[in-house]
């Protein structure tokens, strides 16, 4: 499996991807649906979460990856940009810092950055989106669970299913077995226990062109299966819908599922989920410091519609709160059924 970029796939050209995502679904645009729900133009409510993409480098090459990440990607955040992020964290209303990638841990300044955030605030919530296998990828990462514990990070990790077949078919051969080992290491560090302050949350996303299951029912099933099969505990399961961009879009087009999938998302449009989309309280920072409405818009290179504040170095909270969120057809993925966000269902 190679990234779209390495394959020089037409979809690695953003202009082409945006063209595909501009087509109405059965004559309907996402903005039309929001208008029906009195939500257009879509505006932020406040900015609580700073989601920082520390780079596109990853030890895995998952089939559905919206970042088009892989080990050979070179785009990673510099210390200079991290310092600019720290400045914003110090001087804004940010309550949560959400670190993502690629594998954020592969950024050589990852640990330094977290230590610096903790120097600013002991209370600020820090989330790390850990792909689990990174912990076992190299001896230098084996102590990550201990590092997370020391700095009281919340760990959010993808595990598409409680069986090897389904997990490996989406994330690569052997990923399930390694993920189970990593989860055990996290449990051993105190993560995921029922009353523990150290939260370990798992992320489920469908392994194909269908919508996710209802979150609480699936959480119970995951808990039962992981406990009985592997003695593993975790706190919550977040169900996430695959958004039709990047590698998942390529899969949809190649398998001729694109039209049906988009219709499914449209049919399942839920105004309650629309009111709660995550871009309303989040700003996403790219590896190079540019600002986006969310990690998906970041991958589509759709910078925030606030000309005076498009880079972390020129952060202007007022301009950001007053901006209009940029919408395309992929947004239907956030509003289908029970809704979808980096924190799971929204409705």
């Amino acid at each position: 499996m190679k990234s779209l970029k390495a394959q020089q796939h037409p979809l690695s050209k953003i202009a082409y991807e945006l063209e595909v995502l501009d087509a109405p679904v059965n004559g309907v645009k996402f903005a039309d649906k929001l208008s029906e729900s009195d939500l257009f133009p879509l505006k932020p409510t406040q900015i609580d979460i700073l989601q920082i993409n520390m780079g596109k480098m990853c030890n895995q090459v998952c089939k559905h990856c919206h970042v088009d990440a892989e080990p050979d990607r070179k785009e990673i955040m510099t210390k200079e940009t991290m310092n600019q992020c720290l400045n914003v964290i110090k001087n804004s209303t940010i309550k949560t810092v959400d670190l993502t990638g690629g594998a954020p841990e592969m950024n050589p300044e990852f640990r330094w950055f977290i230590e610096e955030i903790r120097k600013i605030s002991e209370d600020i919530e820090i989330i790390v989106r850990c792909n689990l296998t990174i912990i076992l990828a190299n001896p230098k990462y084996h102590d990550l669970p201990e590092f997370y514990r020391k700095h009281r990070l919340e760990v959010v990790s993808s595990l598409p299913y409680f069986t090897a077949t389904k997990t490996d078919s989406q994330r690569g051969d052997g990923v399930f077995e390694k993920s189970i080992k990593a989860l055990k290491m996290l449990n051993d560090a105190g993560y995921g226990k029922e009353d523990s302050e150290l939260k370990l949350n798992l992320v489920y996303n469908p392994s194909g062109a269908f919508l996710p299951a209802e979150q609480s029912g699936l959480e119970n099933e995951f808990k039962k299966r992981l406990k009985n099969g592997y003695e593993i505990e975790f706190n919550s399961l977040f169900t996430i819908t695959n958004l039709p961009i990047s590698r998942f879009l390529e899969y949809l087009l190649r398998s001729e599922n694109f039209d049906n999938y988009m219709e499914k998302l449209l049919e399942a449009y839920n105004p309650v989920a629309a009111a709660n989309v995550m871009c309303r309280n989040t700003i996403s920072v790219g590896w190079d410091g540019f600002l986006y409405d969310c990690d998906f818009n970041q991958m589509l290179e759709l910078k925030v519609d606030a000309t005076s504040s498009q880079h972390i170095s020129e952060w202007n909270q007022k301009a950001l709160v007053e901006r209009e969120i940029i919408l395309k057809q992929h947004c239907f993925g956030c509003t289908a059924g029970a809704g979808s966000s980096c924190g799971g269902a929204t409705a």
Partner: protein, 110 residues
């Protein structure tokens, strides 16, 4: 090529009220009620529906409940086990009738 079944017709199921609205409305209301979470979970009901779809060999229902069970978080193994339940009952239903055959054989044999 013309065929008796057209996958796109599944999307038109909701339009059967065009010819008889009150009955269709009652049916869909009942249908919705049946599949709600109850003493059985929505997931269990979906697996039963998948098994029944195979027993009655309805291609529309097989399509619909394959997607539905997957959207309820079931995996291929669970889905295939449900179909085996349908197959076992169908096979068993044929075989259990062999007792009638056996009775008849005994009745007319010396």
């Amino acid at each position: 090529m013309k065929t008796y079944y057209n996958p796109d017709d599944l999307k038109n199921f909701g339009k059967i009220g065009e010819f008889q609205k009150p009955m269709a409305d009652k049916f869909f209301e009942y249908y919705g009620e049946v599949f709600k979470e109850g003493a059985l979970t929505a997931r269990e009901k979906s697996l039963i529906a998948l098994a029944v779809a195979h027993a009655i060999q309805c291609p529309y229902c097989i399509d619909a409940y394959t997607v539905d069970t997957m959207e309820k978080g079931c995996d291929e193994e669970q889905m295939m086990e449900a179909v085996h339940v349908a197959a076992a009952i169908r096979g068993g239903a044929s075989l259990v009738h062999s007792t009638q055959m056996m009775n008849k054989v005994k009745e007319i044999s010396m």
